[in-house]
């Protein structure tokens, strides 16, 4: 089931949160929605699951709008985490799971296996307010995926987690994808996006500025990174044609160059100058692209 956003526009009074956004998210894929704070990601998510009504344009999933009849097939992890602080994990998830159309017995069974998987089986009968923030987030994640949704919206799923837990959650996200869940997720951590997504879309002030397959985006970006470690001084490369930026690192430098032929040219100039330990042509990272396009860093 493909999720289609057909030229969505959303305005709040005079401000435009999302402008003319068209997306197509194939079944069983992880789609990354990027953008600086306030770029319109959360608004887009809310429009997809029907919390907000688009001013213009339409959202289709399996041929029609996402309505409450379909809520059993949709999972949502909001950016603002929210659970009942006074309720026990079990009571909480039984309630939320039943609202998504699950049976109580199934919920308990699923919940047990998820808690086991996240290595926190002892939380079953604890109140949410007693858990640490990171662990609350795990519970929140479970609440979004417990009913094995076909469409899963993850708004900043990894924020506030330690690296071990990030890996656990990432693994879970990939497994869900294997089982055919379409996943839309947003993150400021570009390495997560690179790792998980095939297609990405980058929003700036509600307008998509990059959109497509990650590999193609990188290729068409043109600019590449060149890492050189050498025993001699590399400063002179600053003034070579085609070198866009120069930054020194221990043992050498990293250059951003406009195209591959520049690298070839530099390779030749290095000959006879001394010993070169490393000469590596890197694809641009998504982070580089993001910084270039959005003009802001999130590292």
């Amino acid at each position: 089931m493909t999720l289609t956003l057909d030229s969505i526009t959303k305005t709040f009074g005079k401000t435009t949160a999302v402008q003319n956004l068209s997306l197509e998210i194939p079944e069983g894929e992880i789609f990354g929605l990027l953008g600086a704070n306030g770029a319109g990601k959360t608004t887009t998510f809310r429009i997809i699951i029907g919390l907000l009504e688009a001013t213009k344009g339409r959202v289709y999933w399996d041929g029609s709008k996402v309505t409450y009849e379909k809520s059993g097939m949709v999972g949502y992890l909001p950016e603002e985490r929210g659970l009942y602080p006074k309720l026990k994990v079990k009571e909480q998830l039984i309630y939320l799971g039943r609202l998504r159309g699950m049976k109580k017995a199934d919920i308990v069974k699923e919940l047990e296996s998820w808690l086991e998987r996240f290595r926190v089986p002892e939380y079953m009968n604890q109140r949410v307010e007693e858990l640490s923030k990171g662990n609350q987030q795990k519970i929140q994640f479970i609440s979004a995926v417990l009913h094995q949704p076909k469409l899963l919206i993850l708004d900043e799923p990894f924020s506030g987690l330690d690296p071990v837990n990030v890996e656990l959650l990432k693994r879970a996200v990939l497994d869900l994808k294997e089982n055919g869940t379409s996943i839309v997720f947003s993150s400021h951590r570009m390495e997560h996006v690179e790792e998980l997504c095939e297609h990405v879309c980058m929003l700036q002030h509600g307008t998509p500025i990059i959109h497509g397959r990650l590999k193609e985006i990188k290729r068409s970006f043109g600019k590449k990174n060149l890492r050189i470690h050498a025993d001699f001084d590399l400063e002179y490369l600053k003034h070579t044609d085609g070198v866009l930026t120069f930054s020194s690192v221990t043992d050498g430098c990293v250059l951003q160059i406009d195209q591959e032929t520049t690298a070839e040219h530099i390779f030749h100039t290095l000959q006879g100058k001394g010993f070169v330990r490393k000469f590596e042509l890197e694809e641009p990272s998504l982070n580089d692209i993001f910084i270039e396009k959005a003009g802001t860093s999130y590292e």
């Binding site: 029907g50 919390l51 907000l52 688009a54 929210g82 309720l87 009571e91 039943r98 609202l99």
Partner: protein
């Protein structure tokens, strides 16, 4: 179970288990038990309250008549003919042998009383004695003047005066009394319910909002379903609380039947009320609860912190208070123009139209009209409330004004 049922049972079960609910219910029941047993409790502290009074009758022959007059009233006063002197009697009062000492003298054959007690102030006891002595004096005086006792009877008895209703189906005085009692009960129940449970609903919604669980809820179930499931859940909770209180109260009344046959019911005149009145009471109560509960849920969805709930609930409380005061005023003059007009305003209808229906003969079209108005008000509020609710749950930040309603509506629509 459908989503309505799931939310309803969740609202009910999580609330009913809370300490605060159990404690308030327990305290209320305790209070009722105390109030019902207040006489026995006072007895157990004060022991016998009987007043022993010594009577020194210098005229002779007054005491039997005095005793006879007193018998009709209090049993808790017993007169003893005193054989000793006045000084001895006063001493006995000081010693505590007697609670009081009544000296009856005669002035030109007319009996006079002098009452000695430790305090010496006019008290219920001295007043009773004075009242009992009055007829004795009257008959003596009449007798001395040579007037026929029958003539005295005629002079002192009160005038015969009756009121007659010309309207065929006018309510009798008895019916009016029973209606007044029922209106009282209804006023207090509605007033309490709106204040207690309305607040509870608003709190519940605000709680879900402040813990941010709302966004998940709104993405799982339609806001209207949530709103009404919550309203119904809290209503059920109220029924449980009232139910427990009524059962305890009933058992208590049963066990004390000999002391107060029908006591409370008689006091409120509920025995005379017909089935129709009870049905009206039920319908008006339900409509009133629904109206105010919908309003509360809507307002609750506008605040993002539970601390702000009270501020936003204030207008609701004012509304129900205004209705309450007009109703109290209307109890004494139900046909007043103000009552008539305001009984059509949906927020006041449950109290005022009910008051009019029970105390007057209201044309059926007026009742139907008021029902129509309140039901449409509920529908309009629910429709607007659902939209405010849906937008309001995404609305965070400082909120305390009606501007938020506008913003919430804006969030919920396409624009």
């Amino acid at each position: 179970m459908n989503k309505f049922g799931i939310i309803l049972s969740h609202t009910y079960l999580t609330r009913v288990k809370t300490k605060s609910f159990l404690i308030t219910t327990a305290i209320t029941i305790l209070f009722i038990l105390l109030a019902g047993n207040v006489q026995s409790i006072m007895h157990s502290f004060g022991g016998s309250n009987e007043q022993e009074i010594a009577v020194l009758d210098e005229t002779g022959g007054v005491v039997p008549a005095l005793k006879e007059n007193l018998q009709a009233g209090e049993r808790e006063m017993s007169l003893h003919s005193y054989e000793g002197t006045e000084t001895e009697a006063k001493k006995d009062v000081r010693d505590g042998t007697f609670d009081g000492f009544l000296k009856i003298t005669s002035n030109e054959d007319i009996p006079q009383g002098e009452y000695y007690s430790m305090q010496g102030n006019p008290s219920p006891v001295s007043e009773r004695l004075q009242q009992a002595l009055q007829p004795v004096k009257l008959s003596r005086a009449a007798n001395n003047a040579g007037i026929d006792p029958a003539a005295v009877q005629q002079i002192t008895s009160s005038v015969v005066f009756e009121t007659v209703a010309l309207q065929e189906d006018a309510k009798t005085a008895e019916e009016m009394n029973s209606a007044r009692g029922l209106v009282y009960v209804m006023l207090f129940l509605l007033y309490l319910s709106v204040i207690m449970y309305g607040n509870m609903i608003a709190m519940d919604v605000a709680n879900e909002k402040s813990s941010r669980v709302m966004e998940i809820l709104v993405s799982s179930a339609p806001p209207v379903t949530q709103m009404f499931a919550k309203i119904a859940g809290i209503a059920l909770l109220g029924l449980t609380q009232f139910g427990a209180i009524v059962v305890v109260g009933y058992i208590m009344l049963q066990s004390k039947q000999d002391q107060l046959t029908g006591g409370v019911f008689q006091y409120f005149g509920l025995q005379g009320a017909g089935a129709g009145t009870f049905i009206y009471a039920l319908v008006f109560f339900l409509l009133g609860y629904l109206l105010y509960a919908t309003l509360s849920a809507t307002l609750g969805s506008l605040v993002s912190r539970t601390e702000d709930v009270n501020q936003l609930m204030a207008p609701v409380i004012y509304l129900i208070m205004i209705a309450f005061f007009i109703a109290i005023f209307g109890l004494s003059s139900p046909d007043n123009m103000l009552v008539t007009v305001t009984s059509f305003i949906p927020f006041f209808t449950p109290m005022l139209m009910f008051l009019r229906v029970t105390m007057l003969n209201v044309p059926i079209w007026e009742i139907v009209l008021s029902f129509g108005l309140i039901i449409s008000a509920i529908i309009i509020l629910a429709a607007a409330g659902a939209r405010v609710y849906k937008g309001g749950v995404l609305l965070y930040g400082k909120s305390n004004s009606l501007k938020d309603v506008k913003r919430a509506l804006q969030l919920s629509k396409k624009e």
